[in-house]
Amino acid sequence: MASTIRVRAISNGELTEVQTLIQHPMDSGLVKDAQGAVIPAHFIQRLTFEHGDRKVFVADWGPAVSKDPYVKFSFRGANKGDDIKISWVDNKGAADTITAKIQ
């Protein structure tokens, strides 16, 4: 399977708008499955966006962020063709990273 991270980073010359969708259950630990057993909490805690060696945006998430989480922000100082690196780590220590080109 491909990366868990989908990213759209589009520059208009001055601003780069970044939208990300991540495949993750974001289980709160408060929900029971069909058999009545509690589904343990499993959620992304930190999501980091790096342009070069600069962290341009850092998200700290709790279990109240929706399943397959989405976030959008914009930043200055990047050009078309630059790399943006996105990485997350969850409460179980799982992690994923992707590097995308700014369009």
Partner: protein, 288 residues
């Protein structure tokens, strides 16, 4: 016994009411109008009930009739929740089976841009064939196990196929074959038949009350309801196919759902899709 009495009373009341309704004679003859006239009447009904909704917008279901919900949907469409299913479907579609063939070998035009022609009436089998059914048959012909009809792989595959047909109008044909007409009529009857302990028909909600709230949900109009399938439903926290949609509807009326791709469901899909002829495919969709 008092309880018995109440049941009898309830059944009596039921009988009496039914008798009353039967006593009002239907004004028209059975099958006085054919499918084409049905479809026109169906469309006209929705257009006049919702004069502000553009015809092609009915495929957006409850979002065509509620501004606050529409904004939430438009925000979600910026990066829609069905994105993963769509991408998985694209990969699955081109991945060869064990025998080297692919889904493309089973469908006209390699399966691309054809979703609007399904379901169709298959003269050889004498029955309606839906896209989901055709996909599983394609798998079986090529020595692969069929998928569950409700979600996951089937939802991903149909999501991709719908995506390649986006904007193309539904083009369902009813050939000049009494069996095809019968399938259509049976689908229509299923659509209007009340069932389940709550005594609802499909039409009771999706013809008479679209745009209104049933419990917490805003009901979708029947016109264009299948154009957006498969859908990512927040309520399901995931994707669901047309089969899943029918099954959920049945359960909500407290009716025991039929098997996916039973004759009834196939006919229902045939009827409903025909009613939406001319309206664009918009799937995969996102719904509350």
């Amino acid at each position: 016994m008092r309880a018995r009495g109440v049941i009898q009373l309830a059944l009596l009341a039921f009988l009496a009411l039914a008798a009353l309704m039967v006593a009002v004679p239907p004004v028209r003859a059975v099958d006085a109008q054919g499918p084409a006239a049905d479809a026109k009447a169906f469309r006209d009904y929705f257009v006049s009930k919702f004069p502000k909704v553009k015809l092609e917008d009915f495929v957006n279901g409850p979002y065509s009739m509620n501004e606050d919900m529409r904004r939430q949907w438009e925000e979600k469409e910026q990066f829609p929740p069905y994105e993963f299913a769509l991408e998985t479907g694209r990969e699955m579609f081109s991945k060869p089976f064990g025998n080297g063939k692919t889904y493309a070998d089973c469908f006209p035009n390699g399966g691309i841009g054809i979703r609007q022609n399904y379901p169709y009436f298959d003269a050889k089998e004498g029955k309606v064939v839906t896209l989901e059914l055709a996909l599983n048959r394609c798998r079986e012909v090529n020595g692969e196990a069929p998928y569950s009809y409700l979600k996951d792989e089937m939802a991903s595959l149909t999501a991709y196929m719908a995506f390649t047909s986006r904007g193309k109008p539904f083009d369902i044909k009813i050939p000049d074959d009494p069996r095809a007409l019968a399938a259509y009529e049976n689908g229509k009857r299923y659509f209007y038949t009340r069932r389940g302990q709550l005594n609802f028909s499909c039409a009771g909600c999706h013809v008479q009350a679209p745009g209104e709230r049933l419990r917490a949900e805003i009901l979708a109009p029947a016109l264009g309801i299948l154009n957006a399938l498969p859908i990512y439903r927040s309520e399901w926290s995931g994707m669901g196919t047309t089969s899943r949609r029918f099954i959920t509807c049945n359960s909500q009326t407290r009716a025991v759902p039929l098997e996916p791709q039973s004759d009834e469901y196939r006919n229902l899909e045939y009827y409903l899709s025909y009613m939406s002829n001319g309206l664009p495919i918009s799937g995969p969709g996102a719904r509350p």
